[in-house]
């Protein structure tokens, strides 16, 4: 049964697809679009370089979201970030470690690492032990991640995914160890907790901009531009609808 919600949703989906395709094609002949400066990602690039130079490890934690949940999109953004970090830090003495709170996410993180090392022509660097399941439940996941922060000589922590407020324990452990921490989550309580604890918190949808800011492909930039366009569209609809409602038209 076709409903209005379904039709509207389908329209928004096709609009987003069209924007991504068009912007992807337009980006072929142009320079990379200039996005606004996000200090957290600049600091992340520096910390990756420093970690490579001083031979320490980078830790990426992808959250506890399952593949069948709606919050899995943040995990996909985390996987793209893992791919970029693995490529950049492939020359480091200690490869990065990826932890997650879901089985499917663990397998995907291993797949991403293998793909990243293959793209830099270093498949021998792949180790399935670098993509780990930290715990099944949220708290056991945090407990397993805390162990990595203290025993794996990590100098940079990247927390990108769906978390609860308990992720603040990981950020605080990183702060006590003097390591760099960047935290991005789609969960409001996690964002609130991480703003006070993490060195470089990322608020809201900036989480999905991480792959584009780390030097991703043209499709990442195109989807980020499409996201900006859609946001302006939502703003226009909200403001317009409020005005129309206020005017009594709606």
């Amino acid at each position: 049964m076709i409903t209005l919600d379904g039709v509207l949703g389908l329209g928004v989906v096709f609009l987003a697809i069209g924007l991504i395709v068009i912007l992807h094609m337009l980006g072929r002949d142009r320079d990379k679009p200039a996005f606004r400066k996000i200090a957290a990602f600049d600091a992340l690039k520096n910390s990756i370089g420093l970690a490579v130079e001083n031979g320490s490890r980078i830790h990426i934690t992808l959250g506890k979201s399952s593949l069948t949940q709606s919050t899995n999109a943040s995990a996909l953004a985390g996987l793209s970030t893992l791919d970029r970090i693995a490529q950049i830090s492939s020359i480091s003495d200690k490869p990065p470690i990826a932890t997650s709170g879901d089985g499917g996410l663990t397998l995907l993180s291993q797949d991403t690492l293998r793909s990243a090392y293959r793209s830099v022509h270093a498949p021998e660097l792949y180790d399935p032990g670098r993509g780990r399941l930290a715990g099944i439940t949220p708290m056991s996941y945090i407990a397993g991640t805390l162990h990595v922060t203290t025993h794996e000589e990590v100098s940079a922590h990247v927390m990108i995914g769906n978390f609860g407020p308990e992720i603040a324990l990981v950020a605080e452990a990183a702060d006590l160890a003097g390591a760099f921490s960047l935290a991005a989550s789609d969960s409001l309580p996690a964002q609130a907790a991480l703003y006070a604890v993490a060195d470089n918190p990322v608020i809201g949808e900036e989480l999905f901009a991480a792959p584009a800011y780390l030097g991703g492909s043209r499709s990442h930039s195109a989807s980020l531009q499409a996201q900006d366009i859609l946001r302006w569209g939502v703003i226009v609809v909200l403001v317009g609808g409020a005005l129309l409602k206020a005017m009594g038209i709606l």
Binding site: G6, A16, T68, D83, G103, R114, S115, L133, H151
Partner: protein, 205 residues
């Protein structure tokens, strides 16, 4: 293109599920439900595989030549006991339920208590870590809602001015949360579409 078959399957399955969700008409609905069931089953199997991988990682840590981690022994022992008990007694057995209520709940609750202390210390050191108007706004809102949430002002909520002020203040986080959630939704949409279009392939291996 790497892994073309995997990409084709991913695109087809994702597209059918999306369309079936938006247009819940037969046979799309049936296909969607079937695909989702398969996905759930695969996720469960993936979970099992991940658990076995977790055990292997801890076993390697326990038997490593250098930097042995003896804490991994506790994990392995606890897993074996719980697994055997669950197999033998079934999950509804009171003994199994006591493992949850008498071990898991206290441990996780204590971690939550540590979290409360950590967040308190982080709030105290907020201005030491970072300054700016965002930190001032954060501190003010946290203080206000701490006071409101404690119920300290509930006794005086009948005061008309205070009542209206409290109502307005309570509405502020709702507005902010809505804005963040809309942005997150848009980001989730574009990220999912990148997977549907095949530009993001975390499964390529």
């Amino acid at each position: 293109m790497r892994a073309p078959l995997s990409t084709a399957i991913a695109i087809a399955a994702g597209g059918l599920t999306l369309i079936g969700l938006l247009i819940p008409a037969d046979p799309l609905l049936s296909i969607r439900i079937r695909l989702v069931e398969w996905a759930v089953a695969l996720a469960g199997v993936a979970g099992l595989v991940a658990i076995l991988h977790l055990l292997s990682v801890h076993w390697r840590k326990l038997t490593a030549r250098r930097n042995k981690n003896f804490n991994s022994a506790f994990l392995l022992i606890a897993f074996i006991i719980t697994f055997i008990t669950g197999i033998l007694l079934k999950p509804s057995h009171p003994t199994m339920q006591k493992i949850v209520t008498h071990i898991q709940v206290p441990i996780e609750a204590s971690l939550m208590g540590v979290l409360a202390i950590s967040l308190t210390v982080a709030a105290i050191r907020l201005f030491q870590r970072r300054g700016g108007w965002m930190s001032v706004l954060f501190a003010i809102s946290a203080l206000v809602f701490l006071v409101i949430g404690s119920g300290f002002l509930s006794a005086s909520a009948n005061i008309p001015v205070l009542k209206d002020v409290l109502a307005a203040v309570n509405a502020l986080p709702i507005a902010g949360a809505r804005g963040i959630l809309i942005g997150v939704a848009l980001g989730s949409l574009t990220t999912g579409l990148r997977v549907l279009l095949g530009s993001d392939r975390p499964y390529s291996g």
